[in-house]
Assembly symmetry: C2
Homo-oligomer: 352 residues x 2
DNA sequence: TTGAAAGCGCTAACAG
DNA sequence: CTGTTAGCGCTTTCAA
């Protein structure tokens, strides 16, 4: 038999439990919600009745009166307006970067112990962005955790304008009254510069991230500044797009123009991995001939050959903090927005 | 000013719109839900009122009466009972495999045009599994899309026993009255075997997936069977765990025991990539000295050096089909469970 | 400490 | 074609 019993229609309600326990709905509600001032004996009776009936509170009914969905949205946002095909590519592409998996893990790590689960949304088109706003306005979620992939992302502004609770990963390009968590990217890049120089690099180059993304700009600035302060005022730069492929291409360009380079700082691990591949294909040993430092300490850093020396961005902790900030904001809508900036640290492996 | 206006308390209701339009709640409800039989003039008046008031239907209220959450759960399930630390590792580890990103993309691709969004849940401990069941029983989601990482996963059984709508990715180890989508793994592995032999391999070996996972077992069986039929009754096997690292280790073992090998079939791309790394480190050229075929056609296949010849598993389409089957099941609970098996195909790149 | 009663915002008969 | 009327299942004053 592959026919299932129609369980849903038989779902017991508070009323059923109340009848079974010989008390009122209100009393059952109280013990279910752990409110004191209920006679221990009755409390036990209710608990038995709950077990006997297999009662589970109906979330919609509860939300209707509490005005809380007990759900938050995790939205991966982009800019622009992609075609439907590009949309799907966006969704798979996003997870090709281990970064988002870490964000997810951090968010779930915080939410789950609190019996909450994130609703996953992508917002790379104006229609999708409108869907996100409407989702929140419907009360389907109490707030949003937003991870933008572009600086000109209009979503934070839309959310702020609608007065909806949200927290961003990374400070937005233009000031918006929304809390965010971020990393001291410049400090991290400086760490990379210092390490490269300390191990004796004479001709450093860098594969920068996209310069229309704050993190990309800041990492480059931090690297250049530290280098410049230490006698390397103009380090060759090739811009990549935070992908493995773009990192490989950038490395090839750099190699062509500066064959004598002996150290490279890639603005993320994926590009560092691409750089390592190209370096090897050009017969350069890493780190013997060329030292490579990445950024993020994502899963590819350890998997890369050789394992990548990199700047650690504590994504999971940052994501958890984001969730915490959001919850705080949902509970206390009046409070000032507060942001948290994490400090990176260098993780030395074999590539430099 | 960083204080936001308290929008939520002022959310307009159907009543407000009705008053503004000079009609009844029911009429407003009708036009909002696109039900015919409403005078065009009134329809317009209502639409204007909706726009004027900025009305958005309250999801909880609607769910309460329709008994539909319009939400589905996407659960990544495991077996066993991990510690809290392992739990977080599970969550990040899951997304380290591009497979899950593709599943997510496929699911979202189907759901989004229907204004639905998945709630992401991990279920690798008994407590987490209980949370999933309770989440569904609460009516927080209308059904579940389950992707198991282990064969002994008890979740499908629990879901089936509770009579909750669900669809699985991959056929469960023991029969459970739940629909599933799956791939003809054996056929795919046979494709790989044929290709290896066709290009002249004389001493093939294989890096199998974990043998406690059906897909792992089936891919090995399909490969062996096809090989055996073509004169290679006992191909050397090393078992891996579907991770890059395990693939590298398996390759090293195989290389040590069978230095003359000239072709390897890895049961997934990640392991194939690990194999390529080890092969290169041992001075073997791919594909000149050793041909390598992977499985999945995940994002790493194209990124690998050299690009991987692999067996394509149309994960996105399978995931979308899963969502479709679930929706069907939610709408027609009485119907028989139906499953769909997809056919793999070979994607030839450079590694073989 | 407990119960009665009033909704939360919406949909869905059922009349008209 | 439109309005009236019941609730959906739950929380929460307010009395008792």
């Amino acid at each position: 038999m592959s026919r299932e019993s129609a369980a849903p229609s038989a779902m017991p309600t508070l009323e059923d439990v109340a009848r079974a326990a010989g008390v009122s709905r209100a009393t059952v509600s109280r013990v279910v919600n752990g409110i004191r001032n209920v006679d221990p004996a009755i409390q036990q009776a209710v608990r038995d009745a709950v077990a006997a009936t297999g009662y589970t509170p109906n979330r919609a009914a509860r939300s209707l009166v509490t005005r809380r969905a007990e759900t938050i949205a995790l939205v991966v946002s982009g800019a622009g307006d992609a075609s439907e095909e590009e949309q799907n590519a966006f969704a798979s592409g996003v997870f090709a970067d281990p970064f988002f998996g870490r964000v997810t893990a951090g968010v779930v790590g915080y939410l789950r112990p609190r019996s909450m689960h994130p609703v996953l949304m992508f917002a790379e088109t104006s229609a999708a962005r409108a869907q996100v706003v409407s989702y929140l306005r419907q009360g389907s979620a109490d707030g949003a955790l937003i991870v933008s992939t572009h600086a000109e992302d209009p979503l934070p502004g839309m959310i702020a304008a609608a007065g909806l609770p949200a927290v961003l990963f990374a400070r937005p390009a233009e000031a918006v009254p929304i809390s965010y968590v971020d990393l001291a990217h410049q400090d991290g890049a400086a760490l990379a510069a210092d390490h490269l120089l300390a191990r004796g690099c004479r001709r450093p180059v860098t594969i920068a991230g996209p310069q229309d993304v704050p993190a990309g700009r800041q990492r480059l600035a931090g690297f250049q500044e530290s280098m410049s302060r230490q006698g390397h005022p103009s380090v060759p730069v090739a811009e990549g797009g935070f992908t493995l492929h773009s990192g490989a291409e950038a490395m090839a360009r750099l190699l062509a123009e500066h064959p004598d380079l002996d150290g490279v700082f890639a603005a993320n691990d994926l590009m560092a991995q691409g750089a390592c591949q190209v370096l090897r294909e050009h017969g350069r040993q890493v780190p013997a001939d060329v030292a490579v430092v990445g950024f993020d300490d994502s899963s590819v850093a350890a998997a890369c050959r050789p394992p990548l020396t990199t700047v650690r961005q504590p994504v999971e902790e940052m994501a958890a903090e984001m969730a915490r900030l959001l919850q705080e904001r949902i509970e206390h809508p009046g409070r000032e927005v507060t942001s948290v900036v994490f400090q990176p640290r260098l993780v030395v492996r074999e590539s430099a």
